[in-house]
Amino acid sequence: MAYSDKNRAMFAGEIEEIKDKGLYKEKRFICSPQDANILVEYPEGAEKKEVINFCANNYLGLSSHPDVVEAAHKGLDERGYGMSSVRFICGTQDIHRELQDKVSKFLGMEETLLFPSCMDANAGVFEAILDQDDVIIADRLIHASLVDGIRLCSAHYDTFKHMNMKHLRKKLELHQDKRTRLIVCDGVFSMDGDLMPLDEVCDLAEEFDAMVLVDESHASGFIGKTGRGTHEHFGVMDRVDLITTTFGKGLGGASGGCVSGRAELIELCRQKARPYLFSNSMAPSIVAGSIKVIDLVSANTDRRDKLEWNTKYFREQITAAGLCVGGQDTPIVPVMLYNAKLANDMARDMYAEGIYVIGFFFPVVPAGAARIRVQLSAAHDKDHIDKAVAAFAKVGEKYGIIGLDKKGIIEKYGM
């Protein structure tokens, strides 16, 4: 038997190590559609409990929107269940083209190419357009999928301090000897909820002849006055060269992603990006649902505006309740706790109070920066937010952190 007792013991030991370090991810089962109120089985085998969800990427509340569900049903009926092919063989339907065109228009880009996920888009885009003569200069807190994609590419890479334009300038000066420079960042950073100053990034890119790629997964559909994203927010819609984004978060929450940008770069992705060439097409029902999502977010800004109100209200209330929060005006609100055990314990107590949130700590966030990440949704009503704030106040009181700043929490619990 290849899977010997020795092998089993070795892998089991590794799992125990993960548990010993407090990094084990427990199983949690959602027994209802994704929404503001969900039915959860946690821990495994426990009685199902209805809780308010504050940890989904369902920013616009479209994950279970009846129009989107109906469109997905129609896509299933009219275009079938699966494509049984990658895009370039026989996996591209007319609706794939339609979605690409709609996304290009929505984001204000020249062309778009769909991928099975944004993780795949990020894994494929760099190797398709750059080689060993080029350099990628990335913000240090970019998403893990960008890190993986950069590592898969033969181009040189370097990093700059998070959102530090002075440091980015230094790195651009340092790499003027390369053929091409590509600045890589997130539009909204997923753990801190802060916005990359894309206007300053684009100024530097022009000054030092660099291209700009932005991952907009936590921005598409709701950042900017009409929800186009961070490039709209900073008034640089025509100055960003590449956007990668997902249909798995604000834009319906199912799956699929894309690269959108300059026509030549997208064509190179179509010809060379390995996840595009070697992974299956987005399923027709998801493509049809995503088309409806783009139609909904293009038609009006109601959901985006509600999300903005919810975000502002939550930030005001949670701050007034005496919790220490980080980030900027985005629906990602990190309640800063600094200590990993404290974050874990508080998240568990919040669940007991009927609020579903998760604690994040090293290595997902930098050491000593543990937090509970709260994510607002247009599906939340004021009552949901009031309940979450009341629960945070109660649990925060239990742990004696109300009114404490970073220094006070670290003095009490350590990092």
Partner: protein, 82 residues
């Protein structure tokens, strides 16, 4: 400590520590295992060492363990300086 230790420490502080951060870093401070420097950002340190000391550090030796403190970094560099 040697001038190399001072040069590497100065680079690490300049490259990885934010100006408003009150972290104190010395020759024995854990850089990688403590999370001050992540493995993705380690690349700039490797490039700095190779340029500054005109050496080539193979990936098999430029490990998070070898890069964990200024002291261990200097041991690695000195080995390659021969």
């Amino acid at each position: 400590m040697s001038s190399m230790h001072e040069e590497v420490l100065e680079y690490v502080i300049d490259e990885y520590i934010d100006e408003d951060d009150d972290l104190e870093v010395d020759f024995e401070t854990a850089l990688i295992s403590s999370g001050i420097v992540d493995s993705f950002s380690m690349v700039s340190l490797k490039v700095f060492l190779e340029k500054k000391y005109k050496i080539s550090l193979p990936d098999s030796e430029a490990t998070p363990e070898a890069f964990d403190t200024v002291n261990s970094i200097c041991v690695l560099v000195e080995k390659h300086l021969g």
